[in-house]
């Protein structure tokens, strides 16, 4: 196995520093004891984390984001699991077109989706409602839920199902007792990735959210538009911490490269 030369390692070090710097600086500034934006040079302070408690908008937005992410990912899976099983197991006319349609939200700019949903839900009388946000998020997280479920369903050993059928299992029992447990790792990872995508979306949600249904990224964005102060860095630090935890769990249980590349059983 060939090794990297010193030049390559210097390049690599600078690259990694640049990749980490903006995230690190947000987390550091969040601990400043000062009343303005600065790196904590004389001591760390949690005052800006405590200050979040005085802004109920951020707390409320956090719960909206959490509920929205959890619910929309779950609903997306209810639609995605049967679709993934069909696409993984059957060769039927229109299969490729269907798969392309289901993955299309990845291709369509989120700003276009935001506009389309704003127009659609306003004329349906649902403008600014939580229901509208759920439906819109189901569409944008669907490709992620589908891809990971599809990878699990494609890699599944069908002879286990055949054995179950030969022992008399059928229909719902077969799905609940045999198929679902076998594809569960893919389904759970699909849910987690879908959750993160929903939790982070700004571009589409900013069109749909109204006061009361603002998600955390939307609240943060609107806050930054007015002024940047240490408060928004401490909120960001919390968001980063939550995402990192989810990320490490995902990596442990499934492998981050597999999740992100959306590939089946490559590597490992």
């Amino acid at each position: 196995m060939s090794r990297n030369g010193p030049l390559a390692l210097i390049f690599h070090t600078i690259f990694v520093i640049v990749m980490v710097a903006p995230i690190l600086v947000v987390c550091l500034v969040a601990f400043t004891p000062e009343g303005f934006l600065s790196l904590p040079t004389n001591g760390f302070s949690l005052r800006w984390f405590r200050a979040i408690a005085n802004y109920p908008e951020f707390i409320h937005a956090f719960w909206v984001s959490l509920g929205l992410g959890a619910l929309s990912s779950l609903v997306a899976l209810l639609f995605a699991v049967p679709a993934a099983l069909a696409i993984a197991r059957y060769r039927f006319r229109g299969r490729d077109a269907l798969a392309a349609l289901f993955l299309s939200p990845l291709m369509i700019p989120h700003v276009v989706l935001g506009i389309a949903f704003l127009r659609f839900f306003t004329s349906a009388g649902l403008g600014g409602s939580f229901a509208a946000l759920i439906i819109a998020h189901v569409i944008i997280v669907f490709p992620f839920a589908l891809r990971l479920t599809l990878a699990a369903a494609t890699g599944m050993d069908l002879s286990v199902e055949m054995a179950a059928v030969s022992l008399g299992a059928n229909g719902w029992t077969l799905f609940r007792r045999v198929t679902l447990p076998l594809i569960l790792p893919g389904v759970i990872s699909g849910w987690a990735l879908a959750f993160i995508q929903s939790f982070d979306d700004l571009t589409m949600t900013v069109f749909l959210a109204a006061p009361g249904t603002e998600t955390l990224p939307v609240r943060m964005f609107l806050y930054i538009q007015d002024n940047i102060d240490p408060l928004v860095t401490s909120v960001s630090a919390c968001v980063i911490a939550i995402t990192m935890t989810a990320l490490i769990l995902l990596d442990r249980f499934y492998g981050l490269d597999r999740v992100l590349a959306g590939k089946g059983d490559t590597g490992r």
């Binding site: 690599h12 600086v25 947000v26 995605a80 049967p82 039927f92 700019p109 700003v111 506009i115 700004l202």
Partner: protein
């Protein structure tokens, strides 16, 4: 179940995909069609949206140089971002791939992880680093002697490109990484045994084989950068508009929805044409790699 997989069963797959299909037709295709239709409607300050069929918005976009400039800026930023990610991301993916197992997965996590961290938080980080003329980036560059006077990053295209390249970098690294996994390391050894130096190996052996990965990464980065919203809005401020931030303004500030819909439709059509076109070109050019 598996017996059904072999014999042509036309009902089961459709029954399984029907709910998702209805969902997508009902709340994706119909809203998109409504948006395209909206772009042909009329709008006035006092009368609001009038559901008639006119080409007013499209005519305005085609003739007013403001829109040409805005779209040109959007695509210029996207092209520069793509170039920057390719120039830095491809070598980094190659270096990563040559590392030992443990380090490899550690740095892969560090570099790909930001992909899932809120774009708002990452852009906020750049806003802090740029921060006016005495921001950290400028201080560092000046103390290293790279530049004499501070470069303005905030509210400039330079700043937007740097921050966007950071946001998009994981996509490029991932894409080149995937191409490197298909590469047979023995070919490199074979070239070495035949007397090729490291530069020749990279230029003649590695580059041609990872090019499809670089190009497909470039397509992803380009289309995401051209439609990016958060980074241009925060770094670019209110004056330096790109397509996504302009559409946002038309919808939520000016309330001229038909014009905003026309901008969005044009962005969507342009991106679909560019992406589909370049995908076809790449597949034709590198047909043997994908086989």
């Amino acid at each position: 179940m598996s017996a059904a997989a072999e014999e042509p069963n036309t009902r089961a797959p459709w029954a399984l995909t029907a709910p998702a299909l209805m969902l997508f037709v009902g709340v994706l295709l119909i809203p998109l069609a409504m948006t395209v239709m909206l772009s042909f409607h009329d709008w006035g300050q006092y009368k609001g949206i009038e559901p008639v069929f006119i080409l007013k918005n499209w005519h305005e976009i085609a003739t007013d140089p403001y829109y040409a400039e805005m779209f040109w800026r959007t695509f210029r930023i996207a092209i520069l971002t793509t170039l920057l990610t390719a120039l830095l991301g491809a070598p980094e993916a190659y270096i990563l791939n040559r590392m030992d197992g443990r380090w490899k997965s550690f740095f892969l996590l560090i570099i790909l992880g930001p992909l899932l961290i809120s774009v708002v938080a990452r852009t906020l980080g750049w806003a802090l680093l740029f921060g006016g003329n005495n921001g950290l980036v400028n201080k560092l560059l000046m103390s290293l002697g790279v530049i004499r006077s501070p470069i303005p990053f905030m509210f400039t295209e330079t700043g937007m490109v740097v921050a966007l390249a950071h946001v998009m970098m994981p996509f490029m690294v991932l894409s080149v990484w995937a191409a490197l996994q298909r590469l047979n390391p023995q070919i490199e050894n074979a070239a070495m045994s035949l007397g090729a130096g490291p530069v020749t190996i990279i230029r003649r052996i590695i580059m041609p084989q990872i090019m499809p990965g670089v190009l497909s990464g470039a397509i992803i980065v380009f289309s995401l950068s051209a439609s990016a919203f958060a980074t241009p809005a925060i770094i670019g401020g209110r004056r330096l508009k790109v397509a996504a931030t302009l559409a946002y303004d038309e919808f939520l500030n000016t309330l001229n929805w038909p014009l905003g819909a026309a901008v969005a439709t044009l962005l969507l059509v342009a991106l679909v044409l560019i992406v589909v076109g370049s995908n076809a070109l790449i597949e034709r050019r590198y047909a043997e790699v994908f086989r």
